[in-house]
Symmetry: C2
């Protein structure tokens, strides 16, 4: 596995593969890699001739007062992790490489970014769209892989790729969890041991809503209330939002008549945890379509 820090060199590498008729998969990450990222890399390796992984803690998706400085980083471990998996190239640019002086262009999907995580993180998804579009243009992959823990992010990026006529398949991948159900996240490292033991409550709260829908319930206010009630059982959890939205436009839905995302964010100590379930009344809980 080679490590590349220049966008120009990364472009040349990926374009040489395409010119040879080799398919390319891209896994964009912010590093501090865990098995969740690993599952994306494995899927890309299985579906493409070459797999590129980016590790870039993107400053433009962090707001003032957020954890840009504190965000965990371990490039040496990330590199060893990816090498062991068999990734072909690691793109690890500096911020000045991605955002040189005079950088001025912003990409966003405001209507999809207004709610859920976007409501408390203004500008976050603008930063995500801009950096992911850059990464897609640099690597020019056939397929790009995203974890569904960040469901809103995936739906916004899938929309961006369609709207901007990109030639990439945006592939959603199931959330990978710890044995007790906690969604894997680099930010779980912020939890104290006690908080870590309490953390799976968020998953259990969402499963209560999913169970209600799988049992035939369709009232999404009821589903949200089940999540909120479960979270209220531990006072250390501070719910930021629990929302039920249609996956096509991320607008609130009263009834689960199409593919529905129930997503929640809660503070637990220093960590902000997010998780979700996706329910399709036609097929039960399942994975949303790629592009």
């Amino acid at each position: 596995m080679e490590t590349v820090t220049s966008a120009r060199e990364m472009k040349a590498r990926c374009r040489a593969w395409r010119a040879q008729g080799l398919s390319v998969g891209l896994v964009p990450t912010m590093g501090y890699l865990h098995r969740g990222h690993g599952s994306l890399v494995e899927r890309s390796l299985a579906e493409n001739s070459r797999t590129a992984v980016s590790v870039f803690v993107n400053p433009s998706q962090f707001g003032p007062g957020e954890d840009l400085e504190a965000y965990p980083r371990d490039p040496a471990r990330d590199s060893a992790f990816l090498k062991a998996l068999g990734a072909n190239v690691l793109f690890m640019p500096k911020a000045a490489e991605m955002y040189p002086p005079g950088f001025s262009t912003l990409v966003e999907a405001p209507a999809l970014a207004a709610r859920l995580c976007g409501a408390s993180r203004p500008g976050h998804f603008r930063g995500v769209c801009t950096v992911v579009l850059k990464l897609l243009n640099i690597a020019a992959p056939d397929r790009a892989y995203f974890g569904l823990k960040d469901a809103q992010q995936f739906f916004i990026l899938r929309r961006m790729a369609r709207d901007l006529d990109l030639d990439v398949a945006m592939v959603p991948c199931p959330t990978v969890r710890e044995d007790d159900g906690l969604a894997m996240s680099s930010r779980n490292s912020y939890l104290t041991p006690d908080e870590r033991r309490a953390a799976p409550l968020l998953r259990r709260a969402l499963l209560a809503a999913e169970g209600y829908l799988q049992g035939g319930g369709r009232d999404l206010e009821k589903a949200r209330a089940l999540v909120l009630e479960t979270l209220a059982s531990d006072p250390r959890f501070e719910a930021e939002y629990v929302e039920a939205v249609s996956t096509c436009d991320l607008q609130p839905a009263a009834e689960a008549c199409g593919e529905t995302l129930i997503a929640a964010a809660a503070r637990l100590g220093r960590a902000r945890l997010i998780d979700n379930v996706i329910f399709d009344p036609a097929g039960g809980a399942r994975r949303p379509a790629g592009r």
Copy 2:
């Protein structure tokens, strides 16, 4: 020359050329073509194996109260004009093809769009960036050609292409003029015969500023004043702005120390005329660099 209305079909056509090793040039237009557009097509034909032209009156770059409905259209004449020039494919999509239901993504360079035409046309350059990025992604050209009458548009789009790591050379082309100096524009058709005779005053006003700079003057307030004074000689002209900015960031400059754009917009009857001169103290008046 073939005419294509589907983005999918346009993609297939342009990608097939690329796969054969043929270079592709793109000329994005809003139609009602004149010799200015013709010069872009000719340049593309000279520099590429295949030339694609788009004709699309992009609704998202018109503000409320602007001339979207009135904008002149003549698709049959445009088609004959392009066929005679030797263009290879004409892309003429409907609005619903470019902006299907649920379309949500916006691209912009707000810092470069705040002044000049952007000040009186909020959202205009966001519409331009979004549609041109789509057209570039659909046609995947090696080179794209833009007229310098719309100088701010070119500098914003060149910035966008660099910022988003696109693989396209953005090529600026000199403004084509009528014999009396008026910059060619589809909107000149809004002028009455009397106004048409008066219209070259805008060009003469800008040439006064250019003459001052070419004579060694560097005070851009003075250069602006020369433009405004000349325009004031005909009360039918209503100046909207006269600005002197650096071409790298489109911010106001007091002194012509680097490549400098002096641009003006003025109302004359129903028409809003724009024109500009670009001055480089290192090389006199000349054409700005592509990417």
